[in-house]
C-alpha cells in the first residue's frame, strides 16, 4: 500500500500537465494517460490506433437519427404536415369570400307579410336578402338558434326589426334589409354615391389564415419536436446514456436545432405551396426573407421548447407545460383572427409574444412584401425570446 501512495504525487503532476494542455485547447491523446514510465495496460487496440471518427460524424448521425425517428412515426407526419393543410383547406372553404353574404331574414306571417315580400323582391338589393315567411313563434325560435339573422315583423305601415347587436351578420342584415325596404318604398338618397368592387387575392380570409397557420405550425412543431422529444429521451434514460459517452453536448443540441430547420423548410414549402396552388395566394415578399423569418421562428420556439423541457422528468409533465405555454398564443397571437379584436391596452402585451411577432412578420412579408429591414422590432422579439430561453435552458437543463 505504501508504495502506491508514494507514487501519488508524481501522478498528480502528470494530471496537472494534462489539465494545463487542455485549457490551451490541444487535443488529448491516450498517450497522455499512459505516461511512458507507467506500464501500459494491454488495451483492446494498439495505442496508436488511428482516430477514425471525423469531427462532424456524430452530429451528422444524431441529426439523421432525429429525422429518421420522425418520419418513421406516422402520427408525427400527420400532425406536422397533413393536419395544418387540412385545417387550411377546411377553414379556407368555410370562410371563402362569397360574393357578399346573403342575409337570412324571417318574416313573421300576417296580413302584411305578402306586401313586405313584394317590396323585398322589387328592391335593387334583392339578391342579398333571402326572406322566408314563418309563424311568429317559429321565427323567433329559429332566430335564437342562429338560423336567421333578422326577424321582420310588419307593424302598421312600417316594420319592427329584431336583431342581435353582438352578431355582425345580424347588424348587417338589419341595415341591408331596411335599405332594401326603404328604397323599394320610394326613399331617395340625398347624396349621390357609387362603388367599385375589389376582391383581389391578398385581402381574403385564406390569405390572412395561411401565414397564421404557418406561424402556429412552427410553434407547435418547435415545442413538441424539441420539448417533448427531450423529455422522452430523458425519461428513457437515453440522455443520460448519451452523456455517459464522450458525445459533445453541443453536437446534440445543434443536431436538434438542425432537425427543426429541416422540418421548417418542409412545413413552409408545403403550406405556402398549398396556399398558392389551391387558393391562388399571391406571395408578395421575397422567399429569402420569408425563409429567414421562418427560421428565426423555428429556432425561437426550439429555444422555448428546450426551456420547457429543461427539468421535466415525465412526458405528462412536459405535455401540460407545452400546452400551458401555447394555449394563450393560439388565442391571442392572431392565428385565426386578428388580435385587433382585443382591447387596445392589451396590444403591447400581445405584440411581445413570440407567436404574434412571428405571425405579424410572416404576414407582412408574405402579403405586403415588406423587406426584413422594415420589421426589426418583430425580429428582435423573436430573437430575444429565443436567446433568453436558450440561455436559461442551458442553466437549468438536466441531462440525467
Amino acid at each position: 500500500m505504501s508504495k502506491h501512495f508514494e507514487a501519488e504525487p508524481e501522478n498528480r503532476n502528470s494530471q496537472n500537465e494534462n489539465s494545463k494542455s487542455d485549457t490551451h485547447g490541444s487535443e488529448f491523446r491516450d498517450s497522455k494517460l499512459e505516461s511512458p514510465a507507467s506500464p501500459v495496460h494491454p488495451i483492446t487496440g494498439p495505442p496508436d490506433h488511428p482516430i477514425i471518427t471525423g469531427r462532424w460524424k456524430s452530429y451528422e448521425l444524431l441529426l439523421l437519427a432525429r429525422l429518421k425517428e420522425m418520419y418513421r412515426e406516422p402520427e408525427v407526419i400527420f400532425w406536422v404536415f397533413i393536419f395544418p393543410i387540412l385545417l387550411a383547406l377546411g377553414l379556407g372553404i368555410a370562410f371563402r369570400n362569397k360574393p357578399a353574404d346573403v342575409c337570412r331574414v324571417a318574416l313573421v306571417a300576417g296580413p302584411e307579410a305578402a306586401q313586405a315580400m313584394e317590396l323585398l323582391r322589387a328592391a335593387s338589393a334583392a339578391g342579398s336578402v333571402h326572406a322566408e315567411v314563418l309563424p311568429a313563434a317559429e321565427a323567433f325560435n329559429q332566430f335564437r338558434l342562429g338560423k336567421y339573422d333578422l326577424v321582420v315583423t310588419p307593424r302598421g305601415a312600417g316594420f319592427e326589426y329584431l336583431y342581435d347587436p353582438a352578431r355582425p351578420e345580424s347588424v348587417l342584415a338589419r341595415s341591408v334589409t331596411d335599405d332594401a325596404l326603404q328604397l323599394a318604398a320610394g326613399r331617395k338618397d340625398s347624396l349621390p354615391s357609387s362603388a367599385r368592387v375589389s376582391s383581389e387575392p391578398g385581402a381574403r380570409y385564406i390569405d390572412f389564415l395561411i401565414p397564421g397557420l404557418l406561424g402556429m405550425n412552427l410553434m407547435n412543431s418547435g415545442m413538441w419536436g424539441i420539448g417533448f422529444a427531450l423529455v422522452d429521451l430523458r425519461q428513457r434514460k437515453l440522455l443520460k446514456r448519451f452523456v455517459a459517452s464522450p458525445m459533445r453536448r453541443s453536437d446534440f443540441l445543434l443536431a436538434l436545432a438542425s432537425s427543426r430547420l429541416v422540418l421548417m423548410l418542409i412545413e413552409l414549402v408545403l403550406l405556402l405551396g398549398f396556399g398558392v396552388l389551391v387558393f391562388h395566394m399571391r406571395v408578395a415578399g421575397s422567399w429569402v426573407s420569408i425563409l429567414i423569418i421562418s427560421a428565426a421562428g423555428a429556432l425561437c420556439f426550439g429555444g422555448v421548447g428546450l426551456l420547457t423541457a429543461s427539468r421535466a422528468q415525465k412526458i405528462e409533465t412536459v405535455s401540460g407545460l407545452i400546452n400551458l405555454v401555447m394555449m394563450p398564443m393560439w388565442i391571442l397571437s392572431g392565428v385565426f383572427f386578428s388580435y385587433q379584436r382585443f382591447p387596445a391596452f392589451l396590444h403591447p402585451l400581445i405584440k411581445a409574444l413570440p407567436l404574434t411577432a412571428l405571425n405579424d412578420a410572416l404576414r407582412a412579408a408574405i402579403l405586403e412584401g415588406a423587406p426584413l429591414s422594415h420589421q426589426p422590432a418583430r425580429l428582435l422579439v423573436l430573437g430575444l425570446w429565443g436567446v433568453l430561453s436558450y440561455l436559461l435552458a442551458l442553466r437549468w437543463f438536466r441531462w440525467t
Binding site: H41, P42, A65, L238, K240, A244
Partner: protein
C-alpha cells in the same frame, strides 16, 4: 503489492446523500485492479447503482475521492469518457432506429470505435442488424445495450445489472462476452443481485448493503469467512419434523435446517460427516432418496452477514 497504475478504479470515502435526507452511499472504499472483473453485489436499494453512476461520472458524490485510470472526472471528463464503455440500468434505446443505426450512432461518439459488424457478431445481433429496436426481445435489447458499451472499444466496462430479466441462455451469452473482453485485457465493473453471476464471473466482489461494503474479496475468500462451509442436503424416507435435532449430533455438523422437505446440514468437513450420515440412515432403517453436497454460496454469506436473503421480495 499492486502498483499505482494497475489500479483501474479507486474510490475512497464515497458518500452520496440525496436532498440532505436519504444516505444512498455511506462511505465506500473500492479498489478495482486493471484486468479484473469486479462485482458489486447487493440487494435492491443497497446503493449499487448510485455507486456505479458516481464512478461513471454521472452523479456528483456528496464527498469522497474518485480516480479512474489515474485521473479524475473534474479534470479529464471527456478523455475518460473515451476510455469507458457504459451500460446503464434500464436504458430504453430509440425504438424506431435499427440495431445497426443505433450502434453506428454510439460508435460515432468515440474517436476510435470498434467495427460495428464485429460487435454485432459478438453479441449475436448480426441477424437483427436491420430490425427496429422496438421489435427486439428483452434479451436482444439488453445485448444491444451492452453492445453500445462495447462499440466504444473501452478499457473499462461499467455494467449496471446487465443480466437482470434475461433468460438463462442470454445471460450465459453475455457472460461469455464479458469474459472475452477481460481476456483482451479489459477491466469490468458490474453490479448484480444474482449471487451465481457474481460467483462465476467476478474475480473479486464487494458485498454492499445499506450503502456500505460489508465484505469484500474473491468469491472463495468470502465463502471461507463462513468457516469453509459445505452444505449437505438429503432426503430420507420418513423424515419426521421433530427429528431434525438428531442429525445435529453427527460429526462436523454445525447447523441444521429444513428446506422444501429436505434436511440441510452446514458441514465443516463433508468427508467426515457423510459416512456417518449414511451409517445413521442405515441404522434407522430408512431409505436415502436424495443426497447432494454443495459449497456454501455467496447467498449463504449474505444470509450469514445480514440475516436476510439477497432477493427478498
Amino acid at each position: 503489492m499492486m502498483r499505482t497504475m494497475d489500479v483501474a478504479v479507486r474510490c475512497r470515502g464515497l458518500r452520496k446523500t440525496y436532498k440532505g435526507a436519504v444516505e444512498a452511499v455511506r462511505g465506500l472504499d473500492l479498489e478495482i485492479h486493471a484486468g479484473e472483473c469486479f462485482g458489486l453485489l447487493g440487494p435492491n436499494g443497497a446503493g449499487k447503482t448510485t455507486t456505479i453512476e458516481i464512478l461513471e461520472g454521472l452523479l456528483e458524490p456528496t464527498s469522497g475521492e474518485i480516480e479512474i485510470l489515474g485521473n479524475n472526472w473534474r479534470t479529464h471528463n471527456r478523455q475518460l469518457r473515451e476510455l469507458l464503455g457504459i451500460s446503464l440500468q434500464e436504458t430504453r434505446l430509440a425504438e424506431k432506429l435499427t440495431v445497426r443505426e443505433t450502434l453506428e450512432l454510439f460508435a460515432s461518439f468515440y474517436r476510435r470505435p470498434r467495427d460495428i459488424g464485429e460487435v454485432m457478431e459478438e453479441m449475436a445481433l448480426t441477424e437483427k442488424s436491420g430490425a427496429w429496436v422496438g421489435k427486439l426481445s428483452g434479451g436482444q435489447k439488453q445485448r444491444l445495450a451492452a453492445a453500445t458499451a462495447l462499440v466504444a472499444n473501452p478499457r473499462i466496462l461499467f455494467l449496471d445489472e446487465p443480466t437482470t430479466g434475461l433468460d438463462p441462455q442470454s445471460r450465459r451469452q453475455l457472460w461469455e462476452v464479458i469474459r472475452q473482453f477481460q481476456q483482451r485485457g479489459g477491466t469490468v465493473l458490474l453490479t448484480t443481485h444474482y449471487m451465481d453471476e457474481a460467483e462465476r464471473l467476478c474475480d473479486r466482489i464487494a458485498i454492499i448493503d445499506h450503502g456500505l461494503t460489508i465484505a469484500s474479496g474473491t468469491p472463495s475468500e468470502l465463502i471461507e469467512q463462513l468457516g469453509g462451509h459445505h452444505m449437505v442436503e438429503f432426503d430420507a424416507s420418513g423424515n419426521v419434523p421433530g427429528e431434525l435435532e438428531a442429525w445435529r449430533s453427527l460429526p462436523g455438523v454445525e447447523a441444521v435446517h429444513e428446506e422444501d422437505g429436505r434436511v440441510v446440514l452446514s458441514v465443516r468437513e463433508p468427508h467426515e460427516t457423510i459416512p456417518a450420515l449414511l451409517a445413521a440412515i442405515q441404522n434407522r432403517q430408512k431409505h436415502l432418496l436424495h443426497l447432494t453436497t454443495r459449497h456454501a454460496s455467496l447467498e449463504d454469506v449474505f444470509v450469514h452477514l445480514t440475516g436476510r436473503h439477497l432477493r427478498e421480495e
